[in-house]
């Protein structure tokens, strides 16, 4: 059970001890947060004593008398407000005027309690105050976690962008120093690899922009009724040239039409991603089976290839950002490691999911299940 460090500041011993007696026996039950909170109560009889205790013990809850001998409660509040820790304050006052209440709250008090008060008034006020405190802390923790995820993403991104630059720089250094002689043909492989790394980097930047747009929610979604088979045919046309180059056949089988409430741009990204992968990771003379059909409320999209496939372990890593599978079979295939993260984000927008089944050297099947957008 969490214990809340509480400091009661009042020059009247009766009030100090009274509050301590009440709170020591009180267990606050915060149902929303599934927490029961106990109070560990410390006392101070003047502002100086209070300031020192606040600095040393950093209480969570401060119950402060408005009128103290050498410094008013308001002045004290002003001083501790500059401190950087999270504390919730309840002001006690005998002069329960609106003015004092307002100035106390302006200076950072959460609530005030008018003297004389009943134990139950105290408990109620304290309950509200700590509920607020816990909520604020939870929100802060969530923000912290979000920042952490962001930070991790950026540091991986930095690495992923640095790797191709290092490689290209290495090749250029070799060429500058004419390490392999003066004949340009000796450098053909290096030039080819450099261009490939640049291509990969460009793809990564494009995917990154897609991902940022999706995440920020800045791009307005334009939902309308679409026949997604038409979008599928466009996507096939886009990848057809690279499929033809390697004699890969793309077979579409779909009930016509398959109607869906969606943003056509998003569905196009899904189809393009799935088809590009199915061609990229295929073998020459292979094939891609692209199937779209409706099952009740769900639209099921399946893309199977006859490509290099993946091991079970590789499948598990697949959906991590930058979780690109690195092996001799994939090294000549440019990719950003973000494509499937993008797919997953879009599938989430359609209450959907994405699954993969794969066998090394046989091929992979990606199944995306979507529902119409609201």
């Amino acid at each position: 059970m969490p214990t809340l460090k509480t400091l009661v500041v009042d020059d009247e011993p009766g009030i100090r001890l009274g509050i301590r007696r009440i709170l020591s026996k009180y267990v606050a039950n915060l149902p929303d947060m599934e927490e029961e909170v106990e109070f560990d109560v410390d006392l101070a009889e003047n502002a100086e004593d209070a300031l020192e205790k606040i600095n040393v013990h950093r209480p969570d809850l401060l119950i402060l008398d408005y009128k103290l001998p050498s410094m008013s409660g308001l002045e004290l509040l002003e001083k501790v407000r500059t401190a950087d820790h999270e504390m919730v304050t309840i002001m006690i006052t005998a002069y329960a005027s609106l003015n004092t209440a307002v100035s106390a709250i302006k200076r950072g008090a959460f609530d005030f309690l008018a003297k004389p008060f009943e134990p139950d008034d105290l408990r109620k006020t304290v309950f509200k105050a700590i509920q607020n405190l816990f909520l604020a802390r939870q929100i802060r923790q969530l923000e912290q976690e979000k920042k952490q995820v962001r930070f991790q993403f950026i540091s991986v991104l930095g690495h992923e962008l640095k790797a191709p630059i290092n490689a290209i720089e290495g090749y250029l250094n070799i060429m500058e120093e004419r390490v392999a002689g003066n004949d340009i043909s000796a450098y053909e492989e290096m030039i080819r690899r450099s261009l490939l790394r640049i291509q990969g980097m460009r793809k990564m930047i494009a995917d990154l922009l897609d991902l940022t747009r999706l995440e920020s929610g800045q791009k307005k979604r334009e939902i309308s009724q679409q026949n997604i088979v038409k979008i599928a045919k466009n996507a096939i046309e886009t990848v057809q040239p690279s499929a033809d180059k390697r004699s890969i056949k793309i077979n579409l089988s779909a009930d016509e039409p398959v109607l869906m409430q969606c943003d056509p741009g998003e569905i196009e990204i899904v189809f393009n991603n799935l088809l590009t992968n199915a061609v990229k990771y295929n073998k020459d003379n292979g094939s891609v089976d692209f199937d779209i059909h409706r099952e009740n409320e769900q639209i099921i999209i399946t893309v199977s290839d006859t490509g290099i496939g993946m091991t079970e372990e590789e499948c598990k890593r697949l959906f991590q950002e930058f979780g690109r599978i690195k092996n001799p079979k994939t090294r000549e295939i440019p990719g950003s490691g973000l494509g499937l993260s993008i797919l997953k984000k879009i599938a989430d927008l359609y209450d959907g999911c994405i699954k993969v089944e794969s066998q090394p050297d046989v091929g992979s099947t990606f199944t995306v299940t979507l529902r119409s957008a609201e």
């Binding site: 290092n166 490689a167 290495g170 070799i174 120093e177 390490v179 392999a180 492989e189 690899r193």
Partner: protein, 132 residues
């Protein structure tokens, strides 16, 4: 180099590092044998006897280079081994093979941080092979 060329084994899952290192070493008259993974290198070592090995630290397993270095030193304790890695520049984690204690668990003669300068690599190779 005047005598018969020395053979250097280079193991890295980064194909660009392999190509670049091979180019630089070949220009200096070395024989170069490349492997893209720990397992490929282990297979190669059954067939060939390199004079020096350059290993990447993180391959399919995050400490593949250490494991491979251990394997090599078991076959031939006198074979000079250089481990290269970008971990230092990426994580700040530092490795060194300059003290006896470090060499007792890192079975390598030298630890180099990527990116590696070619002159430095050549200098170290010549030193380890006694070619100066």
């Amino acid at each position: 180099m005047n005598k018969e060329p020395k053979t250097i084994l280079v193991v890295d899952d980064d194909i660009d590092f392999l190509i670049q290192t091979e180019t630089v070493l070949k220009a200096q008259g070395f024989n170069v044998v490349k492997a893209e993974s720990q397992s490929e290198a282990e297979e190669l070592l059954k067939k060939i006897q390199p004079d020096l090995a350059i290993l990447d630290l993180m391959m399919e397993h995050f400490d593949g280079g250490f494991a491979l270095a251990y394997h090599i030193k078991k076959i031939n304790p006198d074979l000079p081994v250089i481990i290269c890695s970008a971990v230092t520049s990426e994580t700040g984690m530092k490795f060194d093979a300059s003290t006896k204690e470090e060499r007792s668990w890192i079975k390598a003669d030298l630890f180099l941080s990527k990116p590696i300068r070619h002159e430095q690599l050549l200098r170290e190779i010549k030193r380890l092979l006694g070619l100066d």
